[in-house]
């Protein structure tokens, strides 16, 4: 996709109305990010938190993402909500393959992101082993605020035409949390 730095939007005054120049991708991304049809692939307890996010108190409709589509062909965002077992992996991949472009994937919760505490024969250690993921939302389960953070992060990425995977950051982390995360990352990467 287009390079982020090359996207620019300029407003030019001319007469009474004026006009705007922009890149086509930027316009397209702007149009897409406020109309996300979602496919909730809810398999576990995170589903409860997803319902909560979708219901009026947190109201995911504010972000233009209120329409769930239970047909992969009509949906833009695949929410993988919960643990994915090895036996379920072919189903998930097939659902992903049936979605039409453009499509995005959100890994909702720790299990979908990395397998969570299921470190065993039965569970896929993160759905990015099977399908590409755009946004990881950590939490067991994540609070609706974190989910909305993840959705806004995705919208941001769509607007920027950026497909690199990103993780929702905990904005309430104390000082030095980045070092702690880095250390954790080193532990994980140990051979």
């Amino acid at each position: 996709m287009a390079d982020l730095s090359k996207l620019e939007t300029r407003t030019i005054g001319g007469g009474e109305s004026g006009f705007v120049t922009t890149k086509f991708e930027a316009l397209l991304g702007w149009a897409r990010k406020y109309s996300l049809f979602q496919y909730p692939f809810a398999t576990a307890c995170c589903g409860m938190e997803f319902f909560s996010t979708a219901s009026p108190r947190y109201d995911i409709a504010r972000f233009g993402a209120e329409a769930p589509r239970f047909s992969p062909r009509q949906s833009d965002v695949l929410w993988v909500v919960g643990t994915i077992s090895q036996r379920q992996a072919p189903v998930l991949r097939r659902v992903y393959e049936q979605m039409t472009e453009p499509k995005w994937v959100i890994a909702f919760g720790t299990c979908a992101s990395c397998g969570g505490f299921y470190d065993n024969y039965a569970t896929v250690p993160g759905i990015d082993k099977i399908i590409p993921v755009d946004v990881f939302i950590p939490g067991c389960p994540p609070r609706p605020e974190a989910v909305l953070d993840g959705l806004m992060l995705l919208q941001d990425k769509i607007g920027r035409c950026d497909r690199t995977p990103e993780t929702v950051k905990n904005t309430l982390l104390a000082e030095g949390a980045d070092e702690a995360l880095e250390k954790l990352y080193q532990i994980r990467m140990k051979p």
Partner: protein
Amino acid sequence: MSKLILERLKAQFGADVLEVSSFRGDDVALVKPARWVDVARFVHDDPRCACTYFVDLSAVDLCDPRTDDLDMDDRFEVYVIAYSVEHKHRVRIKTRVSGDEPRLATVIPVWSGANWMEREVFDMYGVHFEGHPDPRRILTYDEFKGHPLRKDYPANRAQPLVEYRDGTFNKLGPFLQDEGMPLNRSAAPDERN
């Protein structure tokens, strides 16, 4: 709870009941595998026992792969829990089968609810139930090799149905230090905590 069932079993089967114990209302009898179905039938049919309600059937792998022989004679302990709605008492009947080709007769003719439980025990431990009408795996998939709850099954061996994508997955772990456990999938087993 009375030890009525255990006494009835001892009277009926004598030396084929190897061991009985009773702890805070849990009555347990260990029987010879050859009399497994007979004991189940007796507990179900005898009017004083009348354990017509099937609660559970599962197994335990008793071997320690570091010290024991995997083919040891009493490696798998299969147990069934039955309850009597009429008399309001419960009994657990156990038996032990060999690690080398573990086989046991099915109790489906006694309690038809045992069907899926026996499939699960076969799936997880590889105990074959002779006479089972549908002896397939139930939780894992047909492509799965081995039996995951056996003590000699490696704890970190996964058998993915979908090939994993190529590339490195250097995302930051979603776990924080105060969120339970470290991301230790790639660490050696003794480094886990």
